[in-house]
Amino acid sequence: MTAFPTAPAPHGPHARRVGWVMTQVLLALVPGALTALAVRGPGVAVNLALCLGTAYLCEAGALSLRKRPLGPALRDGSVAVTGVLIALALPPWLPWALPVLGTAFGVLFAKHLYGGLGQNPFNPAMAAYAFLLVSFPVAMTRWPAAAAAWDGALAWKAWIGADMAWDGLTGATPLGHVRTQLALTHTLFEIAEQGGPPGARAGLLLNLAYGVGGLYLLARGIINWRIPLAVLGALALCAFSFQVIDADRYPSALFHLTQGAALLGAFFIATDPVSASTTPRGRLIYGAGIGGLVYLIRTFGAYPDGFAFAVLLMNLAVPLIDRLTIPRPYGTPDDA
């Protein structure tokens, strides 16, 4: 008689690990991060370093306060994704305290106060971004113009938070520019005649780079198609409908899809599994809600872009959406 060790079924095949999934997400962010570095300057790298460092420190601190083992949580890579997403959303050469503060808020308040990985109802990166935007509206909307972004002395002054005259050194984002010009009763046609919004090409490039990363995630089966499709579809549908009503005042769907946080948000932020809806139909509703809210905030709200608020608002709705979209199990009549 030969004895053998036993284990419960299923005996195989090998599953993916959370750490592998997070590594794939980070890998998919590489083209976007490189493009951001190219168009926004070295300030992006500084933000990345600050946010990643703070994220790991806060994760380790929170885990030890909660008396949890550090190893598995630090190795699973989820906190790295949070840190990178915050950094990529921030303007370059932000006073150094802001990325640190924002990331600490995201990791400590939005993640660990709710119980850590898997328990947070809100997307930690977007909670951090919204926290900074509401608390430091001026600094958070100051995007250095191309020349200033690569000027070492100016950048240092800005980074240490020194008092400085920003006149002429900042440029509006394409979304912000269009918004301001429309408020000044210019038409989109006039804006286009003046050469279009400045930085529109950079915005397009950046969005395309995130789009490439997103397609990689879809191809590897890391994210499901429903949320990105619903986000982009709803955003495009809203933009198209309003453009049909008045093409002078409402920019095209293409403009909305390729500017601001559109593709970063659709592929990397709205798809955060923990805070998103998990049912198949719920994901469509959740994504469409984000797309619609982004359009409303961009067009009628107080901010040029609204991804963070749209995501956080829909995070709030997730428990309800999940409950109302339970799929019909096999063998259950339709009306049950």
Binding site: M1, T2, A3, F4, P5, T6, A7, P8, A9, P10, H11, G12, P13, H14, A15, R16, R17, V18, W20, V21, P72, D76, S78, G116, L117, G118, Q119, N224, P273, V274, A276, T278, T279, P280, R283, D322, I326, P327, R328, P329, Y330, G331, T332, P333
Partner: protein, 510 residues
């Protein structure tokens, strides 16, 4: 000509675990007769069968050695000739666990002498009760792993007047290839069984769910040879859970078995092809079920084969028939990677439920990993063949929320394990669901018992109350009668009575 077509309805979820092209055929052989046969008296949860033989008694192949009380319960037979050397508890693989149950142990004599065959019991000529009785007496049970009595299943199908007979040849778990051997080498047994059962059920439509990577030619020829031209062979994807009864029924007919219902509720009866072949043997040749095909496979063995195995053969005899273990042998698994049961040693016997013996290498097995928190990625939702939300069920199972578990249809879970293997957090979902089901059943059982006890108590109280009222009424009427009676007439009556018999008067005593 028998029609061969693609499945008209889609398969939801599941996993692609098998190669999408046909695998090289395995050798098909008769396993050598083992020196010992271990036949468990229990095959499903419930009562153990009663032995019909005694220790020391000589038995012949096909002799009934144990039976259950129910009319449609399957009997148990000696699978070769020899002497009963013990009737004692032994560990056996039953359903999803190793349990120690009473077994009849036979030392074979090598002669393999058989009882004379029973006369044929062709459903085309015999009445239905005789057919069902024959199937039960011949020990025919579901050989796809469920080992439910075929007579009981068919009795249910007759009562429900089913219109569809489904033969399951989907064989969807890797390493399980016993039906493949049956289909390519003994297709005529399947065809004859199918014709007999179709006649028994009153000519329903016959659908055969055949895995798309298997060759349909032998079965087509066999069906044509017995005149079953109206049967349809439906090719089903070589995808895991396609062979689960409820899933296959939907794939072939578009009908869904109601939750807590049976296939017969929607006019279907579904039998594994091996079961149909065994039923054919029992009905047309009068042969009881004493052997089955078992796939013996894996890198832990010198060679792989499909073996015709006497029921009760210890696993060690099968691995020896396949050249013995190699260095790679890491675990011995009865069944496939998804639902198979890891055996603690190779002394355990093959039962009617055993489809494959897989000697796995360490590389094929999933190394135990630390469980991480659920990140709600939804990978489990995508693969669930019955459209459940495993991650929500897991959360509710952990918090013990019985109402939410019911709202999310925990009872519909078929425990296929798909969610388990795709979970990046390595959460043992199936185990969690099994435990939660057990707990729910226990809680409901307690509820039921409490309700039952209360109703019994109330019924008793009402009965006592009623008796009391009756008694009081009787006493009252007796008193009233006495009061109305004239005292002298009463005295006369009592005297008269004392003279006729000596029984004391009763009326006065309240």
């Amino acid at each position: 000509m028998v029609r061969v077509e693609s499945a008209r309805y889609g398969l939801r979820g599941g996993l692609a675990l098998q190669p999408s092209r046909p695998e090289p055929a395995l050798p098909f052989e008769e396993a050598p007769l083992p020196p010992l046969l271990i036949l468990p008296l229990q095959s499903r949860a419930g009562e153990a069968a009663l032995p019909q033989v005694q220790v020391g008694e000589r038995v012949l192949r096909g002799q009934c050695i144990a039976r259950l009380a129910g009319p449609w319960d399957a009997a148990l037979h000696a699978s070769s000739s020899g002497a009963v050397i013990a009737i004692e508890p032994r560990p056996v693989a039953l359903h999803a666990a190793i349990l120690t149950v009473p077994c009849i142990v036979i030392r074979t004599d090598g002669a393999d002498s058989a009882l004379p065959r029973l006369p044929p019991c062709d459903p085309a000529l015999m009445d239905r009760v005789a057919v069902l009785k024959r199937l039960a007496e011949a020990g025919v049970v579901g050989l796809g792993g469920a080992v439910f009595s075929t007579a009981a299943k068919l009795a249910c199908a007759v009562a429900a007047e089913v219109d569809t007979l489904i033969l399951n040849a989907a064989e969807c778990e890797p390493h399980i290839r016993c039906d493949e051997a049956l289909l390519s080498h003994q297709a005529e047994r399947i065809a004859q069984g199918a014709r007999a059962l179709a006649a028994f059920l009153g000519k329903p439509q016959v659908l055969i769910g055949l895995k798309e990577t298997l060759d349909s030619a032998p079965l087509e020829a066999a069906l044509t040879a017995v005149g079953m031209d109206e049967a349809r062979i439906v090719r089903v994807p070589a995808r895991y859970t396609a062979g689960a009864e409820d899933i296959l029924i939907r794939l072939l007919t578009g009908r869904e078995v109601p939750r807590a219902g049976l296939p017969t509720d929607i006019g279907c009866v579904c039998l594994n092809v091996a079961t149909v072949a065994a039923a054919g043997d029992a009905l047309l040749r009068g042969e009881p079920l004493t052997s089955r095909i078992v796939t013996v496979i894996g890198p832990g063995l010198a060679r792989a084969a499909n073996l015709v195995v006497r029921l009760g053969t210890p696993a060690a005899d099968l691995t020896a028939a396949c050249g013995g273990y190699t260095d790679q042998a890491s675990q011995l698994i009865l069944g496939g990677p998804m639902m198979g049961l890891a055996l603690p040693d190779d002394a355990l016997p093959v039962t009617k439920a055993s489809q494959a013996l897989w000697v796995a290498s360490a590389a094929q097995l999933q190394a135990p990993q630390a469980v991480q928190p659920c990140i709600r990625c939804g990978a489990c939702v995508e693969v669930c063949p019955v459209r459940l939300l495993p991650q929500q069920l897991h959360a509710y199972a952990r918090s013990g929320d019985a109402a939410a578990l019911e709202a999310h249809a925990l009872d519909a879970c078929i425990e296929c394990g798909c969610c388990d293997v795709v979970c990046p957090s390595q959460i043992p979902l199936v185990q969690t669901f099994r435990d939660a089901k057990t707990e729910l059943a226990h809680a409901q059982g307690q509820d039921h018992r409490a309700v039952w006890l209360k109703s019994r108590f109330e019924a008793r109280a009402a009965r006592l109350e009623q008796l009391k009222t009756l008694r009081e009424n009787r006493h009252q009427s007796a008193r009233d009668q006495l009061r109305r009676e004239d005292p002298r007439a009463r005295l006369a009556r009592l005297k008269a009575r004392r003279q006729t018999d000596d029984t004391p008067p009763k009326e006065g005593a309240p």
